[in-house]
């Protein structure tokens, strides 16, 4: 018989998740497929697809996702490798790079708003340097590249430290003798990185990608603060309907977000699977 202790230790966390996560998620499914009077109906999903901003919200959410995730993981990987190297002052870098971890997403959005707004820091600096005559409307509702630039900059700045910390923890568990062995066999720095470090990082990257993709689907406060209604995404549309008191539509959006996150997670689990024997030492 297996000991009960591990299950007992896990019980509080499981109860917490069940009550505050699984149960409300099930409830959201219920609301999304029911009328306000509680009869089962597919009408909410049909209304969702016909919603004014539905197409734009889907497009913008995916657009942000495919720009932010690769960008963030590339930079975070470089940062983590740099922080792990024996360079002088790496402790300082690590400290500075971790800083955005402590900043809330709404606060980050507001900070970047003061940079990108028409009379903000960026335009003032460019005007001061006589690069431009009139302010550039980065955040104009009809300037999609400008809106994307602002949100990508703010989101990447805000969450890259989380990805870096995850990757660093992965790098730290790679036994140094692996790299040393590769070096002795004549592998250069680039080869050691691509042939040794990166494959051994795969499980870590998998976890990081799962975490980050899920949160990228839910991108909200930064978008709201920087773009208002200029760049509707799935989460801002959820909020709009919740505050418009149409909980059926809000739940339909929430369920869509949940399904997208689940599909992404399953895809990462399937395609980035690491065979067990790699870690059998």
């Amino acid at each position: 018989m297996r000991p009960l202790v591990p299950y007992l230790l896990m019980a509080p966390a499981m109860l917490f998740l069940a009550y505050f996560l699984f149960w409300p998620a099930l409830g959201a499914f219920g609301v999304a497929f029911q009328t306000a009077q509680g009869e089962w109906t597919p009408a909410n999903i049909q209304a969702l697809v016909r919603d004014t901003d539905f197409g734009l919200a889907v497009r913008n959410t995916f657009l942000l996702l495919v720009i932010i995730i690769p960008l963030e993981f590339t930079i975070a990987l470089a940062m983590a490798v740099l922080a792990q190297s024996r360079l002088r002052g790496r402790g300082f870098f690590l400290y500075v790079w971790s800083f955005p971890l402590a900043v809330s997403d709404l606060a980050a959005g507001l900070v970047w708003l003061s940079i990108f707004t028409s009379h903000g820091y960026l335009n003032s600096a460019l005007q001061g340097a006589h690069v431009i005559q009139h302010p550039i409307g980065f955040l104009n509702y009809d300037n999609l590249p400008g809106l994307l630039l602002a949100v990508v900059a703010a989101e990447t700045w805000r969450s890259i430290s989380l990805v870096m910390v995850v990757i660093m923890s992965g790098i730290q568990v790679i036994p140094p003798e692996m790299e040393e062995a590769a070096a002795i066999l004549g592998a250069g720095a680039w080869n050691r990185f691509t042939k040794v470090t990166l494959p051994l990082l795969k499980p870590t990257l998998q976890v990081g990608l799962m975490l980050r993709t899920t949160t990228a689907f839910q991108v909200f406060a930064v978008v709201l603060a920087l773009t208002g209604s200029g760049l509707p995404v799935l989460a801002t549309r959820t909020e709009t309907w919740a505050y418009a008191h149409n909980y059926q539509m809000a739940a339909a959006y929430a369920v869509l977000l949940l399904m997208l996150s689940s599909v992404a997670t399953v895809a990462y689990l399937t395609f980035l699977r690491t065979p067990r024997e790699v870690f059998q030492r």
Partner: protein
Amino acid sequence: MRTRVWPAVAVAILIGAACGGTPAPASSPQSGQAKNVGSVAFVSSQGTPANEGQKMNSQVLAGFNGQADFISGPTAAQDVDKVTAEQKAGKGTIDVLALQHGDFTTLGASDALMDVTPLLQRLQKDRQFPQALIDYGKLGTSKQYYIPWLQATYMMAVNKKALQYLPKGDDVNNLTYDQVIAWGQAIQKATGERMFGLPAAPGTQASLIHRFLQGYAYPSYTGGEVTGFKSPQAVQMWEMLKRLWAVTNPQSTTYSQLQDPLLSGDVLFGWDHQARLQNALQQQPDQFQTVPAPKGPKGLGFMSVVVGLAIPKTAPNVAGAEALIDYLTQSKNQIAAGSAIGFFPVVQGVKLTGSQVPPYLNAEAGVAAKYASDKNAVVALLPVGLGSTSDQFTLAYQDTFTRIVLRNEDIQTVLNDEAGKLQTLLNTAKAACWPPDPPSTGTCQIK
């Protein structure tokens, strides 16, 4: 009868508010509330910004003979739902409810509010409310469902830097929508920037662009708020709005309160609720002035907001609730609350004087007086009787704006489409027409 007197009523109120009107009764001190009345839960849909809530607690409620907790929620519909749920449960937590007139209708109809006639009679011994407002609070019945508390309106704020670009011969206090557009074009020509501002951030609680449409643009062009939603005059109005948008700062879709872009210099003039302009007017009183909203072919459409105080039938501390309403309608507290959240008092004879009254509030009262005295005014009310569908009603106006102005969709197609949504909501709530639309028998119908 009750529907038709409203416009006149609203004008009367604003005149009263703006001029300080009728002679003041000698303000009596406390109405016998020597002993502590305990804890009173005071739930409000007004004063939502954190600093306003703080001022309510520190400057207004501090002198109350009990513990009044000011709780302000983001939208009235949530408060309405909560009271309804508490009524069903037979057990409540809310003692005093402060909502705008139109939000009380559902609660009145479901008999969730106490009849406060005895309290009103007691209060009237030493203070007078405009009769029109008292009638408002009856919600068309013989019972008194709420006691009027504060009132407000919307207007334009102008940075004095913009005045040099105003076309010759135009009166800044008497502009048409077309003149505003011409002014914006002159500014754009001179500065290269689009400097008009509208609070057009998304979400029903974030900005008040829907009030601009319901209470200003629509009444000025169609004479109504709802019935002419897809009329030829409405099409003309939306064509005007597209031209107005061409001189509006394109970042307006991020503005929830116009005071911020006014202060940062992103916009030089624009429209918003009086309370959402106050920071600009207060911080740079020499730089900004307030002027009436523009006029259209049907006159000067403007919206008047009345906030009332009610006691839910499920209130746990009725004596405390009555003491709080007594306290809030005393002269000095009318001024204090008005100053704290940027509204006007309603009690007759209360003048906006004293060290705590910010000068901008008097300037705003001047604009309200101009609305009240305008011969071509079209007085619009906040939507009445929509209950928990009120926020979706709001969203339909916002979506119409987004589709026509931001997405350039065909005007008539969008209007027909959104009119269908509005009609469904009106049908669900069984709401009759409210001013400035003509009274309806039965549910209000979009023509």
